[in-house]
């Protein structure tokens, strides 16, 4: 594990460098354990890391790094399966033709592959309600677009690398837009204001026409 300062009141603990469910499970458990400490203001799990904001009057990078190592050495609690969300998708995104072309797969095949797995919510972040879902099957793996769009409509279902995601709000974005869903991801009147939480599971299905 690499633990390094991220500014004078935070640090980044990196548990690994791979997109891996077991590492992500450990990161989420470590963040939850750290949040209970009095000297920790926030602990946010990433894919394979935890960003820890601490109270500089109560802790130093060194004291917290030692505490993180102790916590990480403990066996993580058994993970309960996250809530399962079933998300209907209409596969008519503005990039679907381009994705068909680049992957040399039919539209039907792309739909079948994209809606096959049960994805894990690795983390919620970037913009309100955005969830990084994975792993996306290798057959659909594409690098991000060379030129990001300045505005992607809310509800767009997208893929990039080994990940899939849904744009919760109109925002800039560099992923390939393969479809859209009517399900609302950003719930401003709820707390937390989002449908998905880290550790949840997501299954896409073809929306009835």
């Amino acid at each position: 594990m690499r633990i390094q300062p991220l500014g004078d009141t935070a640090l980044l603990a990196e548990l690994g460098t791979r997109l891996d469910t077991a590492i992500n499970t450990r990161a989420i458990a470590l963040a939850a354990a750290l949040k209970k400490r009095r000297d920790v203001r926030q602990a946010i799990a990433g894919y394979a890391s935890v960003t820890v904001h601490f109270d500089p009057d109560l802790a130093t990078h060194e004291s917290l790094a030692a505490a993180i190592k102790r916590l990480a050495a403990k066996r993580p609690p058994m993970e309960e399966p996250g809530r399962l969300h079933r998300i209907p998708v209409t596969y008519d995104g503005p990039d679907i033709a381009d994705v068909i072309e680049r992957l040399k797969l039919s539209r039907e095949k792309i739909i079948e592959i994209h809606s096959r797995p049960i994805y894990r919510v690795f983390l919620v972040g970037f913009v309100p309600g955005w969830a990084y879902l994975g792993p996306l099957p290798e057959e659909l793996q594409l690098p991000r677009r060379d030129v990001p769009r300045t505005q992607v409509p809310a509800g767009s279902v997208a893929i990039a690398g080994r990940q899939s995601g849904i744009y919760p709000l109109p925002s800039p974005g560099g992923w390939h837009l393969i479809g859209r869903t009517s399900v609302k991801l950003f719930l401003p009147d709820s707390d937390p204001p989002c449908l998905f939480r880290a550790g949840d599971r997501v299954k896409f299905f073809l929306a009835p026409a």
Partner: protein, 314 residues
């Protein structure tokens, strides 16, 4: 509730801000809050408030506000040449406005963001534990938007330590906004920069680019080349200097995205963020490397300056 202030002109971008919503980061909501936390806290303390109450953050062109009743205010941060009924008004000082008094700003003299506090704190919409305006989601503050002409502003209550006019933060305790040096130390991915890049980062001035706002500043200057594979997204902090593939660094500010995967090669220390908050597109900045220990000392010095305003009877 009788409004305290009537908004005659809103200024360029005037928003209600407090300390933001750190508890909503895990939902992907930008932490938000005042860009210059020092000026924000000082303004509150000068009028007898707890340091985290809501203030108005006024960007570059200040608003024109008319007092509807007697109220105690303080103006801190950028010097936008504040005037009361046309006469120069002191900054970093508590001021009593009488009914009908007009607060205006004649123009930028130094800095980018001025803060106006009112005794009792400004009343505003609470969202996820904070009154800060989140422009992306149109929540919090004044209906999730910047102030507009015709708005009425009220105090949320009474000051916790009622005080009077004339309290002041001495000049030597205020941030040196004219010095655009931002102190920083290594970020977790510094090794992804080559030796030349590491040298450039701390030796070249950078200019704040046009696409810069409360989310972050794009820095124009020498490009930095990054090596290695894409990183898995991780939680970000204000002050992080990230370098995308294009090689021009981005300094993350209060409304930064909560997670990202660009390498963070440096982090501007918390004591320099008030200086960063006072920069606008076209301004130049220079990063200067310091130790973590020095950063802690600088942070403590700012906290001590604010401490002089606590508890002291007005």
């Amino acid at each position: 509730m009788i409004p305290a202030l009537h908004v005659e002109k809103p200024g360029l971008l005037t928003t209600v801000q407090d300390l933001g919503r750190p508890n909503a980061i895990a939902a992907g909501v930008q932490p938000g809050g005042a860009m210059d936390r020092f000026a924000h806290a000082a303004a509150n303390l000068l009028v007898g408030n707890d340091p985290g109450l809501a203030t108005l953050e006024c960007t570059l062109i200040g608003p024109a506000l008319v007092a509807e009743q007697t109220c105690l205010i303080a103006i801190t941060g950028a010097d936008l040449d504040p005037r009361v009924n046309g006469a120069p008004a002191p900054m970093w000082t508590s001021l009593l406005l009488g009914a009908g008094d007009r607060l205006t700003f004649a123009g930028r003299r130094q800095g980018a963001r001025a803060y106006i506090a009112i005794a009792g704190g400004f009343a505003a919409d609470r969202w996820l534990g904070s009154l800060s305006t989140n422009l992306m989601t149109a929540r919090g503050g004044k209906q999730g938007r910047p102030l507009k002409a015709g708005d009425a502003l009220s105090a949320a209550g009474e000051a916790s330590k009622p005080t009077g006019a004339g309290r002041n933060l001495p000049e030597h305790l205020r941030p040196a906004y004219s010095d655009h040096t931002l102190h920083a130390f290594a970020g977790p991915h510094l090794k992804r920069l080559d030796a030349e890049g590491r040298h450039r980062l701390y030796s070249s001035p950078y200019e704040i680019g046009r696409d810069s706002d409360r989310m972050g500043y794009r820095l124009d200057g020498p490009k930095l080349s990054i090596t290695g594979e894409e990183l898995l997204s991780f939680g970000l902090v204000a002050g992080a200097v990230q370098v995308p593939r294009g090689g021009l660094p981005i300094l993350l500010m209060a409304d930064h995205q909560t997670a990202g995967g660009y390498p963070v090669v440096a982090t501007v220390v918390s004591a320099s963020l008030p200086i960063a908050a006072q920069l606008l597109p076209g301004d130049q900045l220079q990063l200067a490397e310091i130790t973590v220990a020095r950063a802690q000392k600088m942070r403590q010095a700012l906290a001590a300056a604010l401490e002089t305003l606590r508890g002291e009877a007005g």
